[in-house]
Each structure stands twice: as structure tokens, then as C-alpha cells.
């Protein structure tokens, strides 16, 4: 029996998972298997999730910083959002010695209400070829 565990979201933490196997052995009806280990951060994303709140008449924007860790360098090849009618994104590449990628996120929705969207970054990293950033919008009346 082979188990596979994704370490996404566990950067800087210890991952611990338990697998329960139910068998026909009357004395060992449940066998517990455990997998654990430390997960290293590959990238710092600040903030981890974006919240866009404001009135439709206002410009509602936010900036996200993406900093690859020195040990695991990568470049962002492309950026996309789930719903382009709701959200606009502008990716700014690092300049000079600065390794930070800046993403300017702009709200496009004019109708009052809440929405959820997701930004997807495609990288050249073999470890993490995709990075996802959640966006929560709240357009007021």
C-alpha cells in the first residue's frame, strides 16, 4: 500500500497525517499508519489571501508580494484569474537585486455583493509549478 501526501500549504510547518486501514483481521480491525515530517517554505506570499472591499464607485486594488526563497529560486511564467470580468491582475517582475514579484490586483465587479476568485501563477519550478492565491471580494452598496 503506497500513500502520497501533498505538502502544499505546510511551508514552515510540520506535516502529520494518519491513515486508518480497516482489515478483515478480527484482532486488528483498524491499523493506523502515520506519516510526518518538516516542510520548508519555498516562497513567501504576502498577504496569503487578498480581500477587496469597497464601493463600486471607488478603485478597489491590492498588491501581493511573491518572494521565492533563495534555496528554491523560480520565475513566474504566466498569471491568470478564474473570472476576468471580476478581477484584473498586473504582474511586475523583480528589478535589480530585488527578488520580489509584485502583483497588482484590481476589482472589476460593479454589482454589490460578495465573490470569490483565484489567481494562478505558473512557475518554472519543478517542485511547485503552480501557485494559487485566493481573492475575496466584497462590493458594498
Amino acid at each position: 500500500m503506497t500513500i502520497a501526501v501533498s505538502t502544499s500549504g505546510y511551508g514552515g510547518k510540520t506535516l502529520s497525517k494518519t491513515i486508518q486501514v480497516y482489515t478483515s483481521d478480527p484482532d486488528h480491525k483498524i491499523i493506523s499508519l502515520k506519516v510526518s515530517g518538516a516542510v520548508e517554505k519555498m516562497v513567501i506570499i504576502e498577504p496569503k489571501a487578498i480581500r477587496l472591499t469597497g464601493k463600486p464607485s471607488e478603485e478597489i486594488t491590492a498588491t501581493v508580494k511573491v518572494l521565492p526563497m533563495e534555496k528554491y529560486p523560480f520565475t513566474i511564467k504566466s498569471i491568470s484569474v478564474k473570472n476576468e470580468k471580476t478581477l484584473g491582475v498586473d504582474l511586475q517582475s523583480p528589478e535589480g537585486d530585488n527578488l520580489v514579484w509584485n502583483i497588482k490586483v484590481t476589482n472589476k465587479q460593479t454589482r454589490p455583493g460578495r465573490y470569490f476568485d483565484m489567481i494562478t501563477l505558473v512557475t518554472d519550478s519543478t517542485i511547485q509549478p503552480e501557485i494559487r492565491i485566493n481573492v475575496f471580494g466584497n462590493i458594498l452598496e
Partner: protein, 125 residues
């Protein structure tokens, strides 16, 4: 308790009882070493009732002694094959990995029993 045999009584090895007369082989018994009982029923109605009682209790004693033997035999017959699961290393700790890495590990579950071992369900948490 019947009186012991005497010279004036029923004779050597003979026991008189309210329900009849017994012949007990004294000093070696029969050639095969088995206990032999000769039973003479006195011919009246009361003794017939006692005789039935005697036979009933004798049968009861035989059944009581034979029951454990029968039980043991039954237990041997109902021994069914069972699966016995054994995992040599149920815990796995991986080395430091970067976030996003997919960690895989094989766990081997051995069946030490004599019946097929089935994995009925796997739950993760």
C-alpha cells in the same frame, strides 16, 4: 448405603439394596478388569419405581461425564482460519522537503494468518 457383604448375607461380592442385588467382582473382578453388575430386580411394584429411578440417575451421571469430552471435540471442529495482519513499520518520518513536494511512501502489510487478508476501507485524516 447397603450393608457390607457378610457370610450370612447374599455372599461374597454380593450387595443387597432396596432396589435389587448387585454382584461386584472383588479382588480383580472380571478377566478384562471391567466392572460387572448383575442386577436382580425384586418383583414388586415399589421396586420397579426404584429401578427406574436408579437407571435414570445412572444415565444422568454418564451424560455428565461425557459432556466435557464432547465439548472439546466440538471446539476443535469449529476452529476456522483467520487472517492476521502485521505491519513492520507503521510510522514514516520524512526528511525536510520544500513545500509543494509530493511525498510518497510504501507501507507493507503482511498476512501471518491462514485466511486471505482483506483491506475493507482506508480512511485518511
Amino acid at each position: 448405603m447397603p450393608p457390607p457383604p457378610t457370610g450370612n448375607g447374599p455372599g461374597p461380592g454380593l450387595l443387597d439394596s432396596p432396589i435389587g442385588r448387585f454382584l461386584l467382582p472383588i479382588g480383580g473382578g472380571s478377566a478384562e478388569g471391567a466392572l460387572t453388575l448383575h442386577f436382580h430386580i425384586k418383583n414388586n411394584g415399589r421396586n420397579k419405581v426404584n429401578n427406574i429411578r436408579f437407571l435414570f440417575f445412572t444415565a444422568l451421571i454418564i451424560m455428565a461425564f461425557s459432556t466435557p469430552v464432547l465439548s472439546l471435540e466440538t471446539k476443535e471442529e469449529v476452529a476456522v482460519p483467520v487472517a492476521v495482519a502485521e505491519v513492520s513499520a507503521p510510522e514514516f518520518r520524512f526528511e525536510l522537503v520544500p513545500e509543494g513536494t509530493k511525498v510518497t511512501h510504501p507501507y507493507v502489510i503482511h498476512n501471518k494468518g491462514n485466511a486471505p487478508l482483506e483491506v475493507l476501507k482506508v480512511k485518511t485524516g
